[in-house]
């Protein structure tokens, strides 16, 4: 079986390497331990050695080219083996060892169906954990796995300070998705849950991979026929007492769905995640030279009529720049709507420290197959941006599914 040749972290601080010179060419036979190439790191020129016996193939990086640590630069194939593209398995953990050690394994076994491993965690040198003697002793006595602690000392060394930040409880606190909304508000408005080691590792890896907030996006198309009917009926009922917009319905449904998916109703707080027991929906409003996100507080507890009136009032205040700070801070989740601009679908940027935002496109009539018949239905595309440090793929998807069900069956909101 072919073995990938990775750009390895040849120094503790190395983030990328430049292939200065290939010692072996495509088709050359190589033996474990033989130098394949000279690599220029941030500090020196080091040898990249073979981790398997075979034939060098698929040399993907030219001399002089710089690639990030963890990139596949070639493949070592068995003689005569037919290799296609380099396989996408993650790079081996320790430089110098073939098997993956706990450092990376922890990431790979994250209870997330999303492919954390695809983010090419740089192969950390798990054979040598750099830590001060004091940190080692503290870790030993408190049961902290030093491999999972981010070192802030010289050359990434784990020092006392890093351990003082690390939670000492070993078992990972799992967050079961609550089946019910919070009928009675519990005493505390939120619970602070310390980041578990795995959560921390995911946070660190993802954050360094995709900018300060590692977004990922989930899109679903929602049938809005029944919501439209409900809206028409409600507005007839309300008469002069205001109007309910699609956006109001989305806000209400989002708030209710968050009630059953509190894992998405959370703030990322660097060393802990704040899971809110209250639902405050931020509503992106375009203003003259930007946008602002006024907040509908406890949106899950408000009626559609209330939400409609409040949303209208807040939007107007926003446009007149009359919002008070308490009216645009403290949201636990946000909704952004560009439907009025005929945008089918878009991705919204998360409003930190919130962990998610729903982007609402325009409602358009589309041919849909329903009971074997092609019929025209009003449809909307919702795209959820998730902060991967808080929300994993399945968590976000489950929430989105609930939201979709609520919108497709607005009566469910009354339950």
């Amino acid at each position: 079986m072919a073995t990938n040749v990775y750009m390895e972290a040849l120094s503790p601080t190395m983030e990328e390497g430049r292939v200065a010179k290939w010692h072996k060419r495509d088709g050359d036979a190589v033996k474990t331990g033989e130098t394949l190439a000279e690599v220029e790191t941030d500090k020196a020129v080091m040898d990249l050695v073979a981790r398997a016996d075979g034939v060098l193939r698929q040399v993907a990086v030219a001399e002089g080219q710089t690639v990030p640590v963890g990139s596949v630069v070639a493949v070592i194939a068995a003689p005569g083996e037919n290799v296609s593209a380099p396989s996408a398995t993650p790079p081996p953990g320790p430089a110098g060892k073939g098997k993956r050690e706990t450092g990376n394994a922890a990431v790979a076994t994250a209870p997330a169906p999303v492919t954390v491993t695809a983010l090419s965690a740089p192969p950390t040198d798990a054979t040598r954990v750099k830590a001060s003697p004091l940190a080692r002793r503290m870790a030993k006595e408190t049961g902290v796995d030093l491999k999972l602690v981010t070192g802030s000392g010289p050359g990434g060394r784990v020092v006392k300070k890093d351990l003082e930040r690390a939670p000492t409880t070993a078992p990972a606190a799992t967050f079961p998705v609550s089946r019910f909304p919070f009928p009675d508000r519990p005493g505390a408005p939120y619970d602070d849950v310390p980041l578990t080691q795995i959560r921390k590792t995911i946070a660190k890896r993802l954050a360094t991979s995709l900018g300060p907030i590692p977004h990922f996006f989930l899109t679903t198309e929602v049938d809005m026929e029944r919501a439209s009917e409900a809206r028409d009926a409600l507005n007839k009922q309300l008469g002069d007492r205001g109007k309910v917009s699609f956006n109001d319905i989305v806000i209400k449904a989002t708030a209710l769905a968050l009630g059953t998916h509190r894992a998405c109703n959370a703030w990322f707080q660097e060393d802990h995640i704040r899971y809110w027991n209250e639902v405050h929906i931020g509503m992106a409003v375009a203003v003259e030279d930007g946008l602002i996100t006024p907040v509908i507080r406890s949106a899950d507890l408000k009626s559609l009529g209330e939400i409609g009136r409040e949303a209208k009032d807040l939007a107007e205040k926003a446009r007149n720049r009359r919002l008070q700070p308490n009216e645009y801070t403290g949201a636990t989740f946000s909704v952004s709507n560009l439907g009025m601009f005929d945008i089918d679908q878009f991705t919204a940027v998360i409003n930190p420290p919130e962990a998610g935002i729903i982007a609402v496109g325009s409602i358009v009539q589309k041919p849909v197959v329903l009971d074997g018949q092609v019929t025209a239905r009003r449809r909307v595309r919702l795209t959820m941006s998730c902060d991967h440090r808080v929300i994993d793929g399945a968590t976000g998807a489950a929430f989105l599914q609930t939201l979709k069900q609520m919108l497709e069956n607005p009566l469910a909101m009354l339950l």
Binding site: S132, P133, L134, A135, R137, E141
Partner: protein
């Protein structure tokens, strides 16, 4: 001369000249502006000349005790003027050394008083220089004295270290006000040169910032030698005459009258922040008068940095030197090791020497830390017995749970040299166990460090 540089440093003292060298090493064009001699207070009227004088004092004392070691030196005669001249030579050599280093590293030295201008510019006389990256303020500090006790420094009978370093003759009697490092060192020097020394300290013990055990050891040693030590003293009145000064000192509930030839004011330093254009450039100072800097040593004015004494305590040359390295590395886009201000060694070069790092025992108590003290006296150290330097001890304060070295205090010969083992240990977070595990050569004074570490673990060997 060029008028544009990457980095302009105002002040050529230890912080400034080190910053200049590192800046040049990092490939930045660099200028230093110095109104006096390169090397600043440290090289010219501080650390360096006092160490030269202290060595003269040490030799005098050795010779007086030489008989016991089998050496007849006869009647020992001392001449402060000669010692002073030698100390001046040492200072000049060091200042020239800095000049050479500036040349070697192609640092432009501008002689004159610099005034900051907005836009990262510095005016020196009629010339103006512009910094492309940064202006670094390293103007240092000066002797201030304590005008509140009614004694102005008149430079004849009431002097500061600035004058003491240039005396041709040791005074017959000397009252030193302030028993911090400066007061302690001059007490040692002048006592060795035959002066009758009285050391007056307002706080309850001499060397008030050191561990109480260090203060006690020094008080004992000084008294034994014949230096009068008056702690917890208040100078109620001071009258400076033409060739004498009368002091009324209140201590222990009684007031005593002291008549001395000279008073040395050895307390109080002021930072040099006046008339250098700080306010005009938006550089703010703290309530205590230091320049306000952030973690990257930048002042409140972008592009203006401050290092050394002006940037805040501890006002020590080695702290300023490190800041000089750090600030220039930051400017060059490097990621320097963060300065650990809690790991700056503090040394007083009197005899016996006092050196410390980290917390004192009092501070451990104040912070309610769970600590263990390990001690080892030099009287039980073979090398110290051999050289007759049995005064003092090594004391290590360690965290009870993890063995972290919270603080270390050394009183004794060469304490200033021995302390660095503990500075390295602390910087790298070695525990007492790693210190003890390193094999210490026998017989050395440094063995006392390993023994104190062992003592803190309850298994001292040599005692």
């Amino acid at each position: 001369m060029a008028s544009q540089f990457d980095v302009i440093i105002l002040g050529g003292g230890p912080a400034g000249y080190v910053a200049a060298i590192r800046s040049a090493q990092l490939g930045m064009s660099t200028a230093v502006i110095e109104k006096d001699k390169l090397g600043g207070v440290c090289v010219n009227i501080g650390c360096i000349p006092t160490k030269a004088l202290l060595h003269s004092a040490y030799i005098a004392r050795l010779l007086r005790e030489a008989k016991e070691f089998g050496i007849e030196a006869g009647a020992v005669k001392t001449d402060y003027g000669v010692a002073m001249q030698r100390s001046r030579k040492v200072s000049d050599q060091n200042s020239k050394g800095v000049e050479f280093l500036m040349k070697k590293n192609k640092v432009t030295v501008v002689k004159g008083s610099g005034v900051l201008l907005p836009g990262r510019k510095v005016k020196v006389g009629g010339d103006s220089y512009e910094a492309k990256r940064a202006v670094i303020i390293a103007t240092g500090s000066r002797v201030k004295g304590l005008p509140q006790i009614g004694l102005e420094i008149n430079k004849t009978t009431v002097i500061s270290s600035d004058e003491a370093l240039f005396l041709e003759k040791a005074p017959a009697s000397l009252a030193i006000i302030g028993a911090g490092a400066v007061g302690m060192e001059f007490a040692d020097i002048f006592h060795a040169f035959g002066t009758k020394v009285t050391l007056i300290e307002a706080l309850p013990r001499i060397l008030p910032l050191e561990d109480p055990e260090a203060s006690d050891a020094l008080a004992k040693s000084y008294k034994k030698r014949g230096i009068d030590v008056i702690p917890a003293a208040k100078v109620k009145k001071g009258t400076a005459g033409k060739d004498k000064v009368t002091l009324e000192v209140e201590a222990n509930g009684a007031t005593q009258k002291l008549e001395v030839a000279t008073v040395l004011m050895a307390a109080g330093r002021a930072v040099n922040t006046e008339n250098i254009g700080l306010a005009e450039c938006g550089v703010q100072v703290t309530e205590r008068g230091f320049i306000k800097v952030d973690a990257g040593l930048q002042t409140t004015a972008p592009g203006y940095y401050a290092i050394g004494d002006v940037a805040g305590p501890p006002m020590l040359a080695h702290k300023g030197m490190r800041e000089g390295v750090t600030v220039t590395e930051l400017l060059a886009g490097k990621k320097p090791h963060a300065i650990r201000y809690d790991n700056v060694p503090s040394v007083t070069y009197c005899h016996p020497e006092v050196a410390s790092i980290g917390l004192t025992e009092d501070q451990c108590k104040e912070r309610k830390l769970d600590y263990v003290a390990g001690r080892f006296p030099f009287s039980a150290n073979g090398r110290a017995r051999g050289t007759g330097e049995t005064e003092g001890f090594v004391k290590i304060l360690r965290d009870k749970t993890y063995g972290e070295i919270l603080g270390a205090h050394i009183v004794g010969g060469h304490a200033s040299e021995i302390i660095h083992e503990l500075a390295v240990a602390r910087e790298n977070e070695y525990t007492v166990e790693e210190v003890e595990l390193a094999i210490h050569a026998h017989p050395t004074m440094s063995e006392a460090v390993a023994q104190a570490a062992l003592d803190s673990l309850g298994r001292v060997v040599d005692m």
